[in-house]
């Protein structure tokens, strides 16, 4: 049996020319964005860039003034589509009088997860979700009014995970969580992505985004100013070349005007100006012909902070 995939099947989110104004303020200005299905996607940008507004438009919580949004081959207004989405909002407010279990049962009912499940199965689903996010069992029967920010975030994430959603939209999921908790949440998000869920992450923590996401977009002043595969965006203009330190190598480097540094391992480290793999191959072939022994070649990788700074036009 063959399975046909259309272009629509390949994308989880397609936003086309999305604009949103709040009075005189243009929160989003013609945003175009595609997120492929199964991607781990990060949206980053400075405060006030319009990231949360964009997420709300994606989920139909806010409506765009212009443009369209396609979500899992449907529209955000379609309840059948929303059934397949898990969402953790920024600054989640939980019902103070309820326990995490009662809250998750309520979410499960509203997601239609009670259909075909016994009470025991539903309880198992809820407990499993609370376990996964690392919320201590002693907190499960407690009212959520006294929860710390981190506990609220974990509970919110547990609610988002219910029903194994096809799309997880997480707005600052590790906000207020200690480093150990962040590692747990990161592991959960990565596991969901491996399961096949598309992850859409909005975080101001660039290190978290860098660890979790394969694709990113940088938003500034309501526009997408940079987007693509993280590995491509982080790739620098230079290659680093390590060669065995001998007279031949030094002569070849000097002849090309390359500066070098020496290390303890008996290697010379040079920086190549090759801008693409073809250039690189030519240079390496010439060096090999001259008798230089090549130890390793690496492409310079920029930090996400550098990518971000360049995209939004600020000095790193």
């Amino acid at each position: 049996m063959t399975t046909q995939h259309s272009a629509r099947d390949e994308t989880a989110i397609v936003a086309t020319d999305v604009s949103k104004r709040f009075g005189a303020v243009a929160a989003l200005q013609g945003v175009d964005l595609r997120v492929r299905r199964g991607a781990s996607f990060g949206l980053i940008g400075p405060n006030g860039a319009g990231k949360t507004t964009f997420i709300k438009v994606l989920l139909g919580i806010s409506r765009p003034n212009t443009g369209t949004v396609q979500l899992l081959d449907g529209t955000p207004g379609d309840v059948h589509v929303r059934r397949r989405v898990g969402y953790l909002p920024e600054n989640l407010q939980l019902p103070a009088g309820l326990t995490p279990r009662a809250f998750l049962r309520s979410i499960a009912r509203l997601k239609g997860l009670t259909r075909g499940r016994s009470r025991a199965e539903l309880a198992g689903l809820v407990d499993d979700s609370l376990h996964r996010v690392g919320l201590e069992e002693s907190a499960w029967p407690r009212r959520m009014g006294g929860f710390s920010k981190g506990m609220r975030q974990r509970t919110g994430l547990a609610a988002a995970l219910l029903g194994a959603p096809d799309l997880l939209v997480l707005d600052e999921p590790t906000d207020g969580i200690d480093p150990t908790g962040r590692a747990v949440i990161r592991a959960v998000i990565q596991a969901e992505n491996r399961r096949g869920a598309t992850v859409f992450l909005n975080s101001h923590l660039l290190a978290e985004t860098e660890r979790i996401c394969d694709d990113i977009a940088v938003m500034a002043r309501g526009r997408i100013v940079q987007s693509g595969a993280l590995i491509r965006l982080q790739a620098g203009d230079h290659y680093r070349l390590d060669v065995v330190d001998d007279a031949t190598a030094r002569r070849s480097c000097a002849a090309r005007g390359w500066a070098w540094t020496t290390g303890d391992e008996g290697l010379l480290r040079c920086a190549l100006d090759a801008t693409d793999p073809a250039d690189l191959s030519r240079v390496l072939a010439a060096l090999l012909a001259e008798g230089v022994t090549i130890a390793q070649v690496n492409r310079d990788v920029r930090s996400l902070e550098d990518v971000f700074a360049e995209a939004v036009g600020i000095a790193p």
């Binding site: 709040f22 709300k56 989920l59 139909g60 919580i61 806010s62 409506r63 309840v79 059948h80 929303r82 059934r83 989405v85 969402y87 909002p89 920024e90 600054n91 989640l92 407010q93 939980l94 019902p95 009088g97 309820l98 009662a102 309520s106 979410i107 009912r109 509203l110 997601k111 239609g112 009212r143 919110g156 609610a159 939209v169």
Partner: protein, 290 residues
């Protein structure tokens, strides 16, 4: 089904609130205090004769049909208890209305608050379901409160006088309907601005104006003939007749026949008012950004 889930969540959340438990506790305390304080004693082994408010009721033991009250005494019991049930139903209607307005003012505000409404709207829940489900949930809470208050007092009277009637519960139901009229306006106010104070203020305003509006012909006459009277008439016209509904509730509580001439217009106006408020609230929520 989603509507019922949302309504059930509203009830669950309200039930988890301490002050509501305190209020139900106070009602129970008042019921117990009344049970001990009311001069309603069944004497001589609860069979032969009873005393209601100090007045002895006659009857023979062999005629006993209702536990604790001799058969011949039943009509007298009903007659003696009429003012009790009327006062009781009236108190539950009006006090319940005021308390309900204050106690439920923040329920929809919390559901629609930032950080909460986003999560609810990301679920497979339609906006109108969120609103109408909240309305139904508050209706269930009001029903539970009214049944607890009136039913409890009926139980006290049964214990003291050996006479039980479900009629006051019908009166309480009218109280719930009256409250839902007011709550529909509160819900509309919440969709305009998320403020518990505004919602409760709107509830009190609608309650007071509706009481006044019961005498709409007289109110109109306070204004000079011409545009002033017309404007007053237009402003009063949509308000439901809450005092009339309260009076209907008291009639129901004592088992009196209802006057259709009173009930039908008041009921129709109430239904129209609730429907208009809910439609306006739904339209407001549907066009709103969060």
């Amino acid at each position: 089904m989603t509507l019922l889930h949302i309504a059930a969540d509203v009830v669950r959340e309200a039930a988890a609130r301490r002050y509501l438990a305190v209020v139900f506790g106070l009602i129970a305390f008042a019921q117990i205090a009344l049970a001990l304080a009311l001069d309603l004693d069944v004497v001589e082994g609860a069979i032969v004769a009873s005393k209601l408010f100090g007045a002895a009721l006659g009857g023979r033991a062999s005629d006993a049909a209702t536990p604790g009250v001799a058969l011949g005494a039943v009509p007298q019991v009903q007659e003696q208890l009429r003012p009790v049930f009327r006062v009781l139903t009236g108190a539950v209607y009006h006090l319940g209305m005021v308390f309900g307005v204050v106690a439920t003012g923040d329920i929809a505000v919390k559901s629609l608050s930032p950080g909460r409404v986003e999560l609810l709207l990301s679920l497979p829940v339609r906006r109108w379901e969120l609103l109408i489900g909240t309305f139904l949930g508050v209706g269930f809470i009001a029903l539970a409160g009214a049944v607890f208050a009136v039913g409890g007092f009926s139980a006290v009277l049964f214990w003291k006088a050996g006479y039980f009637t479900a009629a006051p519960l019908w009166g309480a139901l009218m109280g719930v309907l009256g409250f839902l009229i007011v709550y529909s306006a509160m819900l509309l106010a919440t969709t305009v601005a998320r403020s518990a104070a505004l919602a409760s203020g709107t509830g009190i305003l609608v309650y007071v104006l509706s009481i006044i509006a019961d005498d709409r012909a007289e109110v109109r006459s306070w204004f000079t003939a011409g545009w002033g009277r017309h404007v007053a008439g237009w402003l009063i016209a949509p308000l439901p007749k809450l005092r009339t509904l309260g009076s209907v509730g008291r009639d129901l509580a004592v088992g009196d026949l209802l006057d259709a001439a009173d009930l039908v217009p008041a009921g129709a106006a109430a239904v129209a008012f609730v429907a208009a408020c809910l439609v306006a609230a739904v339209l407001q929520v549907e066009r709103k950004d969060w």
